[in-house]
Amino acid sequence: MFDRGWLRAGVLGLVTAALSTMPGFGQTLPQRTGPTILTITGLDPDAHPGGAVAFDLAMLKAMPQATIKTSSIWTEGPHSFSGVPMAALAEYLHVTDATVRLHAINDYSVDMPLSETEDDAPILAYEMDGAPMPVRDKGPIWIIYPYDAGAEYRSDTVYSRSVWQLDRIDILR
């Protein structure tokens, strides 16, 4: 899966994914210091007090990173999106084989089985063209797929999972 992802990235040249060599998987993240931009709920209460974890931007930036350069039906022209792959986040949280429910500030929500994520898509993008995204520009987090990379990334399902103004993920057990 990993290899195929790279292969596709190489062939199509539309996705440039760069997994960070910074803090490895399972490593402890820095303490939260800034405002919370993402809350994960529904986790194992034994591992995480209250079954919830809150992330600030710095914590997200300390996780494996990926960049997707693509256009979308909601924007004008191609843009470069950077953030944390959903798969990396799931791994960090030791969540496998679960379905997550993605919640947006605008009360939108949609379910996504983690089994349908790839190593490098989608990503939880928090930067567009190198700048943080305010709520007015679909921030703070936008689930981004490499739409230009293939028709399979332009389906109803993918579009419905491309949640913007994401602020909470609920792990469904």
Binding site: S72, I73, E76, I105, N106, Y108, V135, D137, R154, Y159
Partner: protein, 848 residues
């Protein structure tokens, strides 16, 4: 077939394109650029309402200002998305959408400034903003509705498109199925036809295989590269190679190159004429011995290449048999010749001492002798002369049989010759108490072209016999021409003892003496009539006898002698005639008519003529005598004119340097070239006229060596005839009149009558044999003989037709030639009518 494939291909392509279209449409639907648009648009309504509620909450409870700000940001984001999102581009251009949207957009832009400002200012503005939002409910609702209708229509359109494409697809599929069905039908039909053909082919192949396998001749087939692809059972037996050993080898395995490295067979790619397909080769057996074989070659197209078939027959036995026959014949001939030579030699050897004896007896007679001694001497002298007579008879027979007796033709006055003979026999006749009389021809003409010595010998024998076997009777000799144009007939009639009917058949045989009493009365070897028969035959005539025992005998000699005009009429003034006067000419021609005509034309111009009726005789005569010119017919049985000419040239005989002129009725251009190459000085194309003959003779050096190919051009007279007779007259009157001029009216008329009779018979014979498809006939030789005669007698159209048939035969179109034969009958009928109509002959005369 190709068209069907093209149509099917086009249909399949169409279906593929359509299917792709449908797939793309379905893809477009699934890639759903519309997806949550309806949701997004309805959210405008919802989020505006939420914002209004949040604003109202913040007005009441200022600590909830943050929530209001967030709600504004959410709404802002929504409007901004509609403003920039590519998916909404079409929507933005809709007039029902734009005004509402513009008002909403203006609201968020305007309000954003306040939202980003300090809290107190915002708080103060909140009621105003809240009012503003309420005023926009209608617009937001309008956008939501617009979204619903607009995208519903779009979906409908797309669905209709898909439906239409599916219908197209269905139709095309139908067409394809129909086409496939048609194809299937056609394939099934073809299958049936092919099956039938295959069955037929198998049958043919089986039959062919059987033919090849059971052929008694070796059959070898080769491919284009020359390797053996088939080698039948007969070939296995002929060459000793097994089939599997021979397959894949070159043909040189069994037909090797010659000692000097030449291929015995022509290259495979060479097109062979019919007569080149069959040839003799030396083949080689596996065990190494060579044997003569006859191969016939054939090639045929087979698939992409050609198949070459070699039929081969072992000729060892046949050749051995032929050789045995030749040897037997040669031995027999040698024996005959030895016998004849012995006769000649012995006769000569006997004659010499006999002459001595007779001479001595004469000398002795003039000396003084006692009367009884003189009586003895008289008996000796009589016996000696009788012996001499017998020896001369034997010599004559031997000479005639050996073929060395050639005719030396010259004008002879037959009446004078007969009178001489009678004068000679008169004493004996009177001694027997006989009366000997002579009756000349009623028309008084008696000068003929003939060999005087031989004619005299015939008369001496016939008259001598009559005198011998007649006592106190009458002997009459008559000279006559049976008809004005017929042959010359000499009748010797006696009133002697006669011949018994049972003996009539054998009196012309050699050494025949009839009854003893007869023998006693008249001594003789019994060779006399044998000599007469030979000479008459040599001159082309015949002899018959009628006899009644006790009443007498009548011998009739009929000779095809040419009557010559009296000397006073002889010279026909002509430069050519004068110039070419007095040549000795050898005429070699197997056709009696033609030889006769040429001979008479030459005699009329006072040339000396010697005749030969075949090539061998011609060669022999040319060996012994020197002739100024040799006229050589080309087509003759035995050795033909070309071979004869070559032999004369290559030999060292008396006439080896004499010019030879080819006579031919008809020749292809390349043939006439070949004649010249063979040493012919010139080619005379029949009909030969006295004029062309003169020109050719005059144009030749009289005895010098000539240069081949430099001879006289075809005679102008012939050219003129060609020019004036382009439309193929039935009978060329020019030729006829020339014939009359050369031979005289009587002679020419006689010849024409014989020509008509002869051709009539030959033609009916030919038509009959050619109509039988199974009969194997030598068409070319049958036709050739007539071609020559037709030319000489000026039967122009018949000649042309016969020539064409001959050409066909020579170029291998035997079947075509045969097909031409039936037409000859009608053509001949017309031609014969033309000859018989009194007008034509009169015209010919007047043309002179």
């Amino acid at each position: 077939m190709a068209a069907v494939v093209t149509v099917l291909g086009a249909i399949a392509m169409g279906i593929a394109v359509l299917t792709l279209g449908v797939l793309r449409q379905i893809d477009a639907q699934s890639s759903a650029s519309s997806d949550n648009v309806q949701w997004s648009l309805s959210q405008v309504d919802v989020e505006l309402l939420t914002l209004t509620v949040a604003l109202d909450d913040a007005i009441r409870e200022p600590e909830k200002l943050m929530v209001a700000r967030t709600r504004f940001d959410v709404f802002f984001s929504r409007i901004n998305t509609l403003h920039v999102g590519s998916i909404y581009a079409s929507l933005r251009e809709s007039p029902e959408f734009t005004p509402s949207f513009n008002r909403l957009h203006a609201f968020v832009t305007q309000t954003a400034v306040l939202m980003d400002g300090p809290d107190d200012a915002l708080l103060k503005a909140l009621p105003q903003i809240s009012l503003h939002t309420r005023s926009l409910f209608a617009d937001a609702h309008q956008i939501a509705l617009k979204g619903v209708t607009s995208f519903a229509r779009l979906t409908d359109l797309r669905r209709a498109g898909v439906k239409f494409t599916l219908i197209e697809l269905a139709l095309l599929t139908l067409v394809l199925v129909a086409a496939l069905a048609a194809m299937l039908w056609r394939v099934v039909r073809l299958g049936q036809v092919n099956q039938a053909k295959a069955a037929e082919n198998i049958e043919t192949l089986t039959r062919l295989d059987a033919v090849v396998a059971t052929s008694l001749d070796a059959v070898i087939t080769l491919d284009d590269l020359g390797t053996i692809t088939e080698f039948n059972q007969a070939a296995v037996q002929t060459f000793g190679y097994r089939r599997d050993e021979a397959l894949g080898q070159a043909l040189t395995l069994v037909i090797p190159v010659t000692a000097d490295g030449r291929q015995q067979l022509p290259p495979r790619n060479e097109t062979l004429a019919a007569n080149q397909r069959r040839r003799r080769v030396m083949a080689r057996h596996r065990l190494g011995h060579s044997f003569p074989a006859e191969v016939s070659l054939a090639s045929a197209r087979a698939g992409a290449g050609r198949v070459h078939v070699v039929f081969l027959r072992d000729l060892s036995q046949q050749l051995a048999a032929e050789q045995a026959l030749v040897t037997a014949r040669d031995e027999a001939l040698a024996g005959e010749k030895a016998k004849a030579d012995l006769l000649v030699v012995m006769s000569h050897e006997i004659r010499t001492p006999l002459n001595g004896m007779i001479g001595t007896i004469d000398l002795l007679d003039s000396t003084a002798l006692a009367p009884h001694q003189r009586e003895y001497l008289r008996i000796m002298a009589a016996s000696g002369r009788l012996l001499m007579h017998h020896v001369n008879d034997v010599l004559d027979i031997a000479r005639l049989d050996s073929g060395k007796a050639s005719l030396n033709l010259a004008p002879v006055d037959l009446a004078d010759l007969i009178r001489e003979v009678i004068e000679n026999q008169t004493p004996t006749s009177q001694a027997n108490g006989n009366v000997l009389t002579f009756t000349p021809a009623p028309d008084g003409r008696s000068i003929v072209a003939g060999d005087a010595a031989m004619l005299r010998q015939v008369m001496m024998n016939l008259v001598g016999n009559a005198v011998k076997f007649t006592h106190n009777g009458n002997i009459s000799v008559e000279l006559a021409h049976l008809s004005p144009h017929g042959p010359t007939e000499i009748t010797v009639r006696d009133t002697g003892i006669g011949v018994l009917p049972e003996d009539l058949g054998r009196i012309f045989e050699d050494f025949v003496t009839l009854d003893p009493s007869y023998a006693r009365r008249a001594s003789g070897t019994g060779l006399g009539l044998g000599i007469v028969r030979r000479i008459v035959a040599r001159m082309g005539g015949k002899i018959t006898v009628d006899s009644l025992p006790g009443a007498g005998s009548t011998f009739r000699v009929s000779l095809p002698l040419t009557l010559l005009e009296a000397a006073a009429r002889a010279p026909v003034a002509s430069a050519g005639a004068a110039k070419a006067d007095g040549l000795s000419v050898l005429v070699v021609e197997d056709n009696d008519f033609n030889r006769l005509i040429v001979r008479d034309m030459l005699l009329a111009d006072h040339h000396r003529v010697t005749e030969a009726s075949d090539g061998l005789e011609g060669v022999r005569l040319a060996q012994d005598q020197r002739f100024d010119v040799i006229l050589m017919d080309i087509s003759m049985p035995g050795i033909d004119g070309l071979q004869a000419a070559q032999r004369i040239r290559q030999g060292d005989g008396a006439s080896s340097a004499s010019p030879i002129v080819a006579l031919t009725a008809h020749a292809l251009q390349e043939e006439t070239d070949r004649f010249r190459d063979s040493g012919m000085a010139d080619v005379l194309i029949k009909p030969i006229t006295r004029e062309t003959l003169r020109m050719v003779l005059a144009g030749l050096p009289r005895s010098d060596r000539f240069k081949p190919g430099q001879a006289a051009k075809p005679a102008p007279a012939k050219k003129a005839a060609e020019v004036t007779a382009p439309r193929e007259v039935l009978v060329d009157l020019g030729t006829l009149s020339d014939l009359r001029a050369s031979l005289g009216d009587a002679k020419a008329g006689d010849l024409i009558a014989r020509f008509l009779e002869d051709t009539d018979q030959r033609l009916s014979d030919l038509t009959q044999r050619a109509s039988d498809p199974d009969a194997e006939i030598e068409l070319v030789s049958l036709v050739h003989r007539m071609t020559g005669t037709a030319a000489m007698f000026g039967a122009a159209r018949l000649h042309r037709h016969l020539s064409r048939i001959e050409d066909m035969c020579k170029t291998g179109r035997e079947a075509d030639a045969r097909a031409e034969v039936p037409a000859l009958a009608e053509l001949w009928r017309q031609t014969a009518d033309a000859y018989l109509s009194p007008g034509s002959l009169a015209q010919a005369s007047s043309l002179r």
